[in-house]
């Protein structure tokens, strides 16, 4: 069974996100001062072939913890979508 994983990686909430801070600052410049606390992360999609959803989930967790996210500074979450 083939799945698409949609992965979101975000800087840990406790850590300063300078990129998000800069983008927040620019909100004023486009006339949206009511927007606050922008935080910028990454969205990653990938395709995975696995026997079932549990097996796919295990592999994606492996990819996230080993390479895609650094848990010292980031958190991740994902969902799987079966491909036709």
């Amino acid at each position: 069974m083939k799945y698409t994983a949609h992965i979101n990686i975000m800087p840990q909430k406790a850590l300063l996100d300078p990129q998000g801070k800069a983008v927040t600052g620019s909100m004023k410049n486009i006339g949206l001062p009511e927007i606050e606390n922008v935080r910028v992360g990454k969205h990653i999609t990938l395709e995975i072939d696995a026997a079932n959803e549990a097996a796919a989930k295990g592999k994606v967790d492996d990819a996230c913890t080993k390479l895609l996210a650094n848990l010292i500074m980031e958190t991740y979450e994902f969902h799987l979508q079966p491909m036709n």
Binding site: P11, P18, L67, I72, M73
Partner: protein, 233 residues
């Protein structure tokens, strides 16, 4: 002691490192390609600065899985000496050879300037020849050098003497103003618990020549190069 400088795609401080070790210190030094697995009998491995793999994903994240890194990790586990400068430091953190991580600079700027650092203590293979309290003028050039580790890790590192260099002003005072990137506790360089793996954000290889009007980096290279002498004491 033979030095090996690992070259990843995007490394750009490798020749500076080779020049200092080979020409200034007349030490045997060789280039090691990241796809190889042979450390060629080197006793000391250096991961140089640069932008390995274009800093894609995170600085150092992709280089960490280059084939040679498996050998470097084994080498370090067996007590081999490893040093990473700038991107090399980031790779060492990503590989788990050093604790912590290097985040985007607090002030959002790519900082390219001379800063001052001082050795925390001389009881280390990477600080032994640095005079106590001396502020070394060494350049930095990075956008992601804000050292971070969780409180428990940081506490243990302080206790174990793993913080080797801190940013300071020219008088050697460790102040918030002297911190160029927002690193926790002004941390500029750390080592692992065993003391054989070392990483620092500043570039001592860019401060080891009279031609560049800055030789403070030599205090650090003196510590590395005369390692054998120190160890025999």
């Amino acid at each position: 002691m033979k030095f090996g400088v690992v070259i990843f795609p995007g490394s750009n401080c490798d020749d500076d490192m080779l020049h200092v070790l080979g020409d200034t210190y007349s030490k045997p030094v060789t280039k090691l390609w990241h796809k190889d697995r042979d450390l060629q009998g080197c006793d000391f491995i250096v991961l140089p600065g640069g932008f390995s793999f274009g800093d894609y994903l995170r600085s150092g994240a992709l280089a960490r899985y280059s084939p040679i890194m498996e050998e470097v990790i084994d080498f370090a586990a067996n007590g081999g000496f490893v040093m990473g400068v700038c991107n090399g430091f980031q790779i060492l953190c990503e590989s788990g050879l050093l604790p912590g991580a290097l985040l985007r600079n607090e002030n959002r700027l790519f900082q390219c300037e001379n800063v001052h650092i001082k050795a925390e203590h001389a009881n280390s293979r990477f600080t032994a020849h640095v005079p106590a309290g001396k502020a070394l003028k060494i350049p930095i050039a990075h956008g992601e050098g804000r050292y971070h580790a969780d409180a428990a890790t940081l506490n243990a590192m302080n206790k174990n003497g793993q913080i080797l260099y801190r940013y300071c002003n020219e008088n050697g005072e460790v102040t918030p103003k002297a911190n160029p990137n927002g690193s926790l506790e002004n941390i500029a360089g750390v080592c692992n618990e065993a003391g054989n793996v070392f990483g620092m954000m500043p570039h001592p290889e860019r401060a080891a020549s009279e031609d560049l009007s800055n030789t403070d980096g030599r205090y650090i290279f003196d510590s590395l190069v005369y390692l054998g002498v120190i160890m025999e004491k």
